[in-house]
């Protein structure tokens, strides 16, 4: 059951006004929303306590320059405070925030997480080079019009978690013709907001449920096809090397990832640095090595560290200057690693992080999971 927000002609505007009202009524101290940057070709996360500033914000931004969970991380990482904040973000950002809360990086006590049905996002580089086309594209995506898959951020075409999450409040608008939006509470906190606004949660949601279900069917098919292709492309050592051949080790992928929260990444630390003589020895053994070194170690290592919490948001691909489909690869691997533990990243259902818990009896088939690996090193690694 849900409450209803009438929309008029402007879905985004209606959501803005709703958040402004919440702030004006002192239900929260601040709201966190995207706002267009002065140069007009991107958006930034702005936390606002002054309700008049909410007019300048945008409830649903066409691009995701900074993963919302990264913004939340900076706000609450060093501890709980007394500012009550409502953050309006994409479902993948909410899910990343939930993972970060399990990792102690986001404190949710005074945080209200709100999300909306996400039609996807525009890739950063195409938005920055032509913002008005980017805005047009996003408008079409929101309206449910057909757009060419090549224009949309690749991760979004494979996204199956575009709707309801474990956020406190969800704006459900798919399938409702753009005239109203459902306010679906996901938690007691969410219910409290509706009660404070005297909005009865008395509307049934079957039309919306159906629209979401249908879209999910299409997305699942798209994702499965993408996974099959990716799986083939990265097969074996050579496969991975091919996909990452253009990697320049800039680490933009790690910096953009909401889950990679380490201030000093293991792979930049002293522990990971090889002594120059050993490095030369490797060069002798293999006839030659690539510099900067340890590219594959970084990528596969990062996978082992974060794939269980990967929410397939696609920020890594968006940030990559070498156009490597990092997100496709990581998403594919994360799907498998998470399934191995029957864990779904981004859910608040009480499942502990798989690497923080164990059962005395489990994974008995582990020895069968290890298949033939290709031995030896490679000169272009």
């Amino acid at each position: 059951m849900a409450a209803v927000l009438p929309v008029g002609s402007d879905l985004s505007g209606a959501m803005n006004r709703f958040l402004k009202t919440i702030l004006e009524k002192d239900i929260v101290d601040a709201v966190l929303m995207p706002m267009k940057v002065p140069s007009g070709d991107s958006f930034a996360w702005i936390i606002m306590s002054d309700s008049s500033i909410v007019d300048d914000a945008e409830a649903m931004a066409p691009v995701m320059p900074v993963q919302g969970a990264r913004a939340l991380r900076s706000l609450t990482r060093k501890g709980e405070g007394s500012i009550r904040v409502l953050a309006l973000m994409r479902p993948c950002e909410i899910r990343a925030a939930i993972e970060l809360s399990k990792l102690g990086q986001v404190k949710t006590e005074n945080l209200i997480l709100a999300a909306y049905d996400c039609p996807g996002a525009v890739p950063m580089d195409s938005f920055v080079s032509d913002p008005s086309s980017g805005e047009d594209l996003f408008r079409k995506m929101l309206a449910g019009e057909d757009v060419s898959a090549g224009e949309v951020k690749p991760s979004c075409t494979s996204c199956v978690e575009f709707s309801m999450t474990d956020a406190d409040l969800h704006f459900g608008h798919f399938g409702l013709g753009g005239t109203e939006v459902l306010l679906i509470p996901g938690s007691p906190k969410g219910m409290e907001i509706l009660e404070a606004l005297e909005l009865p949660a008395d509307r049934e949601t079957s039309i919306w449920d159906e629209a979401v279900r249908k879209r999910r069917e299409k997305q699942v098919a798209s994702r499965d096809a993408a996974f099959e292709e990716t799986g083939e492309n990265i097969r074996g050592v050579q496969g991975m090397l091919n996909v990452f051949a253009d990697c320049i080790s800039c680490r933009n992928c790690r910096a953009a990832c909401p889950i990679c929260y380490c201030r000093l990444c293991h792979f930049e630390s002293e522990t990971a640095k090889q002594d120059p003589n050993s490095r030369l020895d490797s060069a002798v053994t293999r006839g030659g090595i690539s510099l900067p070194a340890d590219r594959m170690l970084f990528h596969t290592g990062r996978m082992t560290h974060m794939s269980l919490s990967c929410v397939s948001c696609g920020q890594c691909s968006d940030a990559c200057p070498a156009d490597i489909p990092v997100a496709q690869v990581f998403s594919f691997v994360a799907d498998r690693t998470q399934k191995a533990f029957e864990y779904s990243a981004g859910r608040n259902d009480g499942d502990p992080l798989p690497l923080r818990s164990f059962m005395k009896s489990e994974l008995s088939g582990i020895h069968e999971m290890v298949s033939d690996a290709e031995p030896g090193g490679h000169a272009h690694e």
Binding site: D29, A30, V37, P38, S39, S42, A44, I46, I47, M48, S49, D50, P65, V66, A71, R73, S74, L75, T76, R77, K78, G79, G81, S82, I83, D125, V128, S129, N242, A245, D246, I248, S249, C250, R251, N252, A255, A256, R263, L264, E268, E270, K273, P276, N277, R279, L280, A283, V284, G287, G288, I289, S290, L291, P292, D318, A319, P321, A322, H380
Partner: protein, 358 residues
């Protein structure tokens, strides 16, 4: 000075030199750009097997990583290395040596009068194949190829500083100039006609003319990004990935201050900020990072342009850093990378100087 005439194109000649250096045992390893023939993808290779030279493209107009940065750690191995570096990479390396992040002790540096490099996007798009032949043609005539990195177009430091061997390719021919005793020693026994010759000055002068003009235009175009509003306009879309710092040859700090706990704030900070100004960007300190990085390294900026290339939102970082860097270095008549014995301006002082400050 003693120079070796290159009968073939420069790349082939240097490939042969590098193979000779390896097979004769003069060096243990060679650092050079290389390109995988099947895929066209490029990387920096540290090669020990002379047969690996077949993939070497020493003058490929591409910079996947600043080779001066890549050379840092391995130059301290004690093993002998020959490294092909672009002039800015050599200067960047020199700046690192001053910071105890590298050593010239066992290093033979090979550089060239540099025609510039293409931005990464041209490499990724697969356009290199048709761009490179035109590049070679034009640069031999001291003409500027189109589509280079902004800072390459505007670079006046295209003649290598302190290389052991520098290569010049002009309409008068291709020459390997031997600048040091080490260069003479390592090339002893390498086949090639020796003549007394310098790089063609008129070629250098023509290049300088077009570079200076381009630099003027570049700096002019950055004028609008001044003042608080201009800066916020320029850096407003920065996402704080710090990729610029990571690929910078000068930024060597393993743990950057701006990524440390020093810049993680607790709630009272955010509460006060909101009380004071009503709204605040998250994560905070976007402009602080840019200005802070300028104070920490601008005087050593060698204008290589890796920063602009790696920026996910296409901010022209390199131009701003180069422009500001020339001003801060200029305060002390400092030229980054000019002389490995010249101390970094912030490490020294004169008792009498800057009298008008304070």
């Amino acid at each position: 000075m003693n120079s070796i005439v290159m009968k073939q194109d420069a790349s082939t000649a240097i490939r042969e030199l590098l193979a000779y250096l390896l097979s004769s045992g003069r060096v243990d390893a060679v650092l050079t750009m290389r390109q995988v023939p099947e895929t066209g993808s490029c990387d920096l290779g540290l090669i020990t097997d002379p047969s690996g030279m077949v993939e070497a493209e020493p003058f490929l107009p591409v910079m996947t990583a600043n080779a001066g940065q890549a050379l840092s750690s391995i130059s301290m191995s004690g093993k002998r290395i020959a490294a092909v570096l672009k002039p800015c990479e050599l200067r960047g390396f020199t700046e690192r040596v001053k910071r105890e992040q590298g050593s010239f002790d066992n290093l033979l540096t090979i550089s060239s009068i540099c025609g510039g490099v293409f931005p990464l996007e041209k490499v990724i798009s697969g356009d290199l194949e048709k761009l490179v032949p035109r590049y070679i043609e034009k640069t031999a005539r001291a003409e500027a190829p189109r589509g280079l990195r902004e800072t390459c177009k505007a670079c006046e430091e295209f003649v290598p500083m302190n290389a052991d061997i520098s290569v010049s390719v002009t309409e008068h021919g291709s020459l390997m100039h031997l600048h040091s005793d080490r260069a003479e020693e390592y090339t002893e026994g390498f086949e090639g006609e020796r003549i007394e010759a310098r790089a063609d000055q008129s070629h250098i002068d023509r290049m300088m003319k077009s570079r200076s003009a381009a630099k003027g235009k570049l700096f002019q175009s950055l004028e609008k990004s001044s003042g608080l509003d201009g800066l916020v306009d320029l850096f407003g879309k920065c996402v704080g990935c710090h990729g610029c710092s990571r690929v910078c040859p000068i930024c060597y700090c393993q743990h950057c201050d701006f990524e440390s706990i020093n810049f993680d704030y607790n709630q009272p900070y955010f509460q006060e900020s909101l009380e004071a100004r009503g709204a605040l960007r998250l994560p905070p300190d976007t402009i602080l990072f840019q200005l802070g990085r300028l104070t920490h390294m601008s005087f050593s900026c060698v204008g290589c342009g890796m920063c602009s290339d790696v920026c996910p939102v296409s901010i022209p970082v390199a131009g701003i850093f180069k422009k500001t860097g020339e001003r801060t270095a200029g305060l002390f008549d400092y030229v980054p990378g000019r002389d490995s014995e010249e101390p970094i301006p912030v490490m020294v002082f004169k008792e009498e100087e800057l009298g008008d400050i304070g």
